[in-house]
Structures are given as structure tokens and as C-alpha cells.
């Protein structure tokens, strides 16, 4: 590209000529000859209407983006969830070991004072209750994490 090309392009796309362009136009007869055509073209391009966004455009967009935002929120919560799950799983072996000894002690005690079948039945119920409590505790982790993430987000907005 020549200097002339540069100057005329600058004149078209920047509007009023700056000092460099003005100096070049004064010195260069070829560009001087094209100046009127370039300025007329600039006026034609400037006449293009400025389209205004219709009312409610953002609301419609936000409604359409809702599922994607929910997906983003779920994905953003994953690291927190993984951390919480890891922290919760850490004491699990100790809890299971304790439960095992408790069930064994209960079985020994109950079968000593009750008929074996009844003692075994009660021990089974006791073990099932412990297992249910454990399952409920771990099932609450995702709910707890989601709640924490929501609270944290609200705090950061505030």
C-alpha cells in the first residue's frame, strides 16, 4: 500500500483530516483530486440508519439464557462439592468401624438376655437404623453444598 492509499483510507474512516493527512492532501495532486469523492462516500456511509434495539430484547434474552446459567451454576459448584465430599468421606472408615463394634456388642448383649432369634432381629433393626442415618447424612451433603454456594454468591453480590 502506498502513502496515498493510507492517507485516503484514513480520510474516509476517520472523518476530518488530521495534520498528517491535511499536509499530504496539500502536497499530493492525486489525493487532492480524489478528496471530494472520498468525502462524498463518507457522507453516504454516515447516512446509514443507526438501528435501535427493540424493547424487551434483554428480557427475552435472559429468559432464553436461564437454562445455560443454571448449568454454569452447577458446574461452578463442582469444586466445592468435591471438596465437601472428600472432607465428609475422610472420617467414614472410623464411623464404619465404630458401627461394626457397636452392632457386635449389641448382638452379644441382646442374645445373652433374650432368645437368639429375637436378639438377632433387634440387632438387625439397630444395624439398619445406623445404616439409614449414615445414608441420610451423606445424602445431605449436595444439598448443604448448594446452600453454601448460594449463600456465598449472595454475599459476593452484596
Amino acid at each position: 500500500m502506498t502513502d496515498c492509499d493510507d492517507m485516503l483510507t484514513t480520510l474516509l474512516f476517520r472523518g476530518a483530516p488530521d495534520a498528517d493527512v491535511a499536509a499530504h492532501l496539500t502536497a499530493c495532486p492525486r489525493c487532492r483530486a480524489e478528496r471530494a469523492a472520498v468525502e462524498s462516500l463518507a457522507r453516504t456511509l454516515a447516512a446509514a440508519p443507526v438501528p435501535a434495539p427493540p424493547l424487551g430484547l434483554t428480557w427475552r434474552l435472559l429468559a432464553a439464557a436461564e437454562p445455560l446459567l443454571a448449568r454454569n451454576a452447577r458446574r461452578a459448584a463442582w469444586p466445592t462439592f468435591a471438596l465437601a465430599l472428600a472432607a465428609a468421606l475422610l472420617p467414614l472408615p472410623a464411623i464404619l468401624l465404630l458401627d461394626f463394634y457397636l452392632v457386635r456388642a449389641a448382638f452379644a448383649l441382646l442374645t445373652a438376655i433374650l432368645p437368639t432369634a429375637l436378639g438377632a432381629y433387634l440387632t438387625f433393626n439397630y444395624a439398619a437404623t445406623l445404616a439409614l442415618l449414615l445414608a441420610l447424612t451423606y445424602a445431605a451433603i449436595p444439598i448443604f453444598v448448594e446452600h453454601q454456594v448460594r449463600l456465598r454468591r449472595q454475599e459476593s453480590h452484596a
Partner: protein, 168 residues
Amino acid sequence: MATDEELIAAVASGDGRRLEELCRRWERPLYQLIARHTGGRDVEDLYQETWLRVVRAARRFDPGRRFSTWLFQIATNLCRDWHRRPPPEPVDPADAEAVAGAPAPTDAVLDARRLLAALPEAQRSAVILRYYHDLPEEEVAAILGCPRGTVKSRLHHAMRRLLEMARP
């Protein structure tokens, strides 16, 4: 006031209010960019698709970049794809009546639209970003994914072509 880059980080974690703030900030420039690219056709669809892509890819946004460059890049790519689509079926008569009821554009408006529409896609993108959005050549180059020299050359070729077409 939060920067665009902070807002898009919040959108990446699912924050709808931050998305709204970002949309309101860029609604007009983005809408106008698309409208100029397509001559006013399918603008709302392309506008919405641009934002949906932004939300979808928000987690991958590079915070070292300017948000506006990324946003305009997505919109420009969508407009490029739009131009490559086959032409639509003949319009519904009801649509034609609705268009006929709209105020008639002036000759100058028609000329500006006709001139822009006649440019090759790459030159039209450069002209729209440089002339109508007043972006520096470096940013136009970043949006179009080409060197600055290519932008200069596209602008120059666009000017020559426009001058030729505008000549009586």
C-alpha cells in the same frame, strides 16, 4: 463499577443479574453491529445467539483479553455464517405487507445499505468495525483474527470498491 471481565466471570458461575448488567452495557453496539452486517435481517436471532454463546463459553473466557473484542468476534463469526446460509424462501405475503407499511428508506440510506451489502464479507466486517464502531485497527485485527496489515489492506480495498460503486 464492575469491569466487563469481572461481570463475565460472574456469568461463568451462573449469575443472571451480572449477565443482565453486561447485556444492558453492550445491547446497543452489539445490536447495531449485527444489523449493519445483515442489513437488518434476522438481527434479534443473531443477537440472542451471540449472547447464548457468550454464556455457554463464559468459563473459557481468557481474562487477559478484552471482553468487547471477544463479544464482537463471536457476533462477527455468527454474521459470517449467516451470510453463507442459503437464501430464505420467498417471504410470506403478510410479511411483505408489513414491510410495505414501514416508512420508506431515503435514497442515501438505501445507498449506504447497498454499498455495504456489495462488499465481500471480510471487507464489510473491517469497514463496520472501523468506521461505524470506531475501533482502532489493532482491535479490528484481534476481532477478525488477522494481522493489522491485513485489516489495512481490506480497508483500502473496501474504499476503492466503494468509491467505484458510488461513482455516478
